[in-house]
């Protein structure tokens, strides 16, 4: 039971981060390969604030998320006005720089051996509620004016510009929102694990998240969430295969990209309307068979 609880909590924390990646990659078509670095900022900043400054946990989380958003703004400012390739290259460089910095500032962060002594004060309940809230927030964002503008510029940036969409601003909003979500998941991570070290925040983690989004369906929030949930919970059950995990992931995704590029669920979203539709379809099929 404790194992299951552990797996679920970690999976929900990942789901929050992947919600952020979905906003960036799924809605806007930008790729951040330094997204894990924002998670690192969230977990280190909130952890340090609690340990060194004795600030209560919720306030520390708030400060950490705001800090990550400010950093995100600084990184985003030069790149959102350029071709979308730049954001992946720049964030990749940023991720490596943050990893180097965390390893280097030994007195503050504990260097490669990690930051210990963070109070463990978050359980399954908080993770679940946060994950649901994050999903709801992103679902709301997707159907809002901004979300639709994001989808428009993903399809064709030039055409979106011609329709009067402020492409730079929208890209920035999407980037900051995704940074906020990811750093929040970092905060939860540190208060759940009570220990963080820099090795877990490399570009591989960011790539992992992108892969999860594509596995579930890049155009569908439901798919992305499901992909994150499955791909983060599955390896926990197959602990012996730890080393093979990345290989299996990669093979899965190569198959999906080549043969079903829209991902597991395609464009399908879990909404009340869609559920009704599929129930009706099943009903119709049954009637046909009865005849």
């Amino acid at each position: 039971m404790a194992l299951l609880q552990n797996i679920l909590t970690q999976a929900f924390i990942t789901v929050i981060a992947v919600c952020g990646v979905y906003v960036l990659t799924g809605l806007t078509g930008m790729f951040s390969l330094g997204q894990a670095a924002f998670m690192a900022i969230g977990s280190y900043a909130s952890g340090l604030l609690v340990i060194k400054a004795g600030i209560p946990v919720p306030v520390a989380i708030l400060i950490a998320v705001v800090l990550a958003m400010v950093v995100g703004y600084l990184i985003g400012y030069p790149v959102v006005r350029l071709r979308r390739d730049y954001i992946s290259l720049v964030t990749l460089g940023f991720g490596e720089a943050i990893a180097a910095l965390l390893n280097r500032m030994t007195t503050l962060t504990g260097g490669a051996s990690g930051l210990t002594g963070i109070p463990r004060c978050i359980g399954l309940e908080v993770a679940t509620i946060s994950a649901v809230a994050a999903i709801a927030l992103v679902a709301f964002f997707k159907t809002s004016k901004y979300g639709r503008q994001c989808i428009a510029l993903r399809g064709d940036e030039l055409a979106a510009k011609a329709m009067g969409i402020n492409v730079t601003k929208i890209k920035m909003i999407a980037f900051i929102l995704s940074v906020a979500l990811t750093s929040y998941s970092g905060c939860l991570y540190s208060f759940y694990m009570s220990y963080v070290d820099p090795s877990g925040f490399g570009w591989k983690k960011s790539a992992d998240w992108v892969i999860m989004v594509f596995f579930g369906g890049v155009n569908s929030l439901t798919g992305s969430t499901l992909g994150a949930f499955i791909l983060s919970a599955l390896p926990q059950f197959l602990r012996d295969l730890q080393n093979y995990r990345y290989v299996i992931y990669a093979v899965l995704v190569i198959l999906i990209i080549n043969f079903k590029p829209s991902g597991l669920l395609g464009e399908w979203e879990l909404t009340i309307g869609n559920i009704k539709k599929s129930i009706r379809r099943i009903g119709r099929k049954n009637k046909k068979e009865e005849r």
């Binding site: 078509g29 790729f31 390969l33 600084l74 990184i75 400012y77 030069p78 790149v79 006005r81 350029l82 071709r83 979308r84 390739d85 730049y86 992946s88 290259l89 720049v90 990749l92 460089g93 940023f94 490596e96 720089a97 180097a100 910095l101 390893n103 280097r104 500032m105 064709d156 940036e157 030039l158 055409a159 490399g202 570009w203 591989k204 790539a207 992992d208 992108v210 892969i211 594509f214 890049v218 080393n243 093979y244 995990r245 990345y246 290989v247 992931y249 990669a250 093979v251 995704v253 190569i254 990209i257 080549n258 590029p261």
Partner: protein, 290 residues
């Protein structure tokens, strides 16, 4: 800046230039950032290590095997990861994700083989330094500088002067039109991948000699990315200039403030550079096509 730092910087820059051109070559032709480039370097470096240097052969066979392995990996990668997407005329996004996935795949395979251990290439030279007047240069640095320069020279010659190079430039300019003119663009893309893989293999072995061999060696590819951003995305000349500049600046910063902070500093330089001159030194601005 002393001559010593200058020469070390040039040697580092030369290796970065190899990484950056291999990356820029693919970008040039297919207009996407190939994130499997780093892992290709890792695989090639490890293959060269296990097949050649661990058995006591010298530097030349190691480099040759490394280059061949890189070429082979890139060839297979193109076939597994990109061929079908290319045929479907999918958007650049899919190329991109495919390359990330291939990168994870290669790195995962290497990790299965070697764990997360570190390996060292054997000492290739009897004398570890060469003295030129007052300046002391490490033999490895000198060798890297020379071989990289020669390799880049050959590449430039192939692209500018030969028939296949002209075809490559045509495909890079407009794939469909080139196809209509009778160029087999699939073949050319294959060729581009193999060349980029060969260069990646060389760069991988160099990085392995300069630092150590470990499964995430490929993350050093980020230097090549930074170099090609500074130089101008997709421009080969720009990539080389950017890489040499980056090597010089980094060596200088390294001698001033140590390894951790110099990474941050180079990153900050790149950000400022993007803000001031986003199209890079070479000034080729690849705009998203409508």
């Amino acid at each position: 800046m002393s001559i010593q730092v200058l020469i070390n910087g040039l040697a580092t820059g030369a290796v970065y230039a190899l990484i950056a051109t291999g990356f820029a070559l693919i970008f040039n032709v297919l207009k996407f950032s190939n994130f499997s480039h780093g892992a290709t370097m890792t695989v090639a470096a490890f293959v060269a290590y296990f097949l050649v240097s661990a058995k006591g052969y010298g530097i030349v066979p190691t480099l040759i095997i490394g280059a061949l392995a890189g070429g082979l990996v890139a060839f297979c990668g193109e076939f597994i990861g990109f061929r079908r997407i290319l045929k479907n005329h999918s958007s650049a996004t899919y190329f991109f994700v495919s390359s990330i996935t291939l990168g994870t795949l290669y790195e995962g395979l290497v990790t299965i083989k070697v764990g997360s251990n570190f390996f060292n290439y054997p000492q290739f030279f009897e004398k570890s330094t060469v003295e030129l007047g007052k300046v002391v240069i490490s033999t490895t640095d000198l060798m890297m500088l020379i071989i990289s320069t020669v390799a880049l020279g050959i590449l430039a010659f192939v692209i500018q002067k030969t028939r296949i190079g002209r075809a490559l430039r045509a495909v890079s300019f407009d794939r469909d039109t080139a196809q209509l003119m009778g160029i087999d663009s699939t073949r050319i893309i294959q060729f581009t991948f193999v060349v980029s893989g060969v260069i990646a293999g060389l760069a991988g072995v160099f990085l392995g000699i300069k630092y150590t061999l470990y499964p995430s060696l490929g993350s050093l590819v980020v230097k090549g990315f930074i170099a090609s951003v500074i130089g101008g995305l997709g421009s080969l000349t720009g990539a080389v200039i950017g890489a040499v500049l980056l090597g010089l600046v980094e060596t200088l910063l390294l001698s001033i403030m140590g390894s951790g902070y110099s990474t941050i500093a180079t990153f900050a330089i790149m950000l400022v550079f993007l803000l001031l001159r986003p199209r890079g030194i070479a000034g080729s601005n690849v705009q998203e096509k409508a």
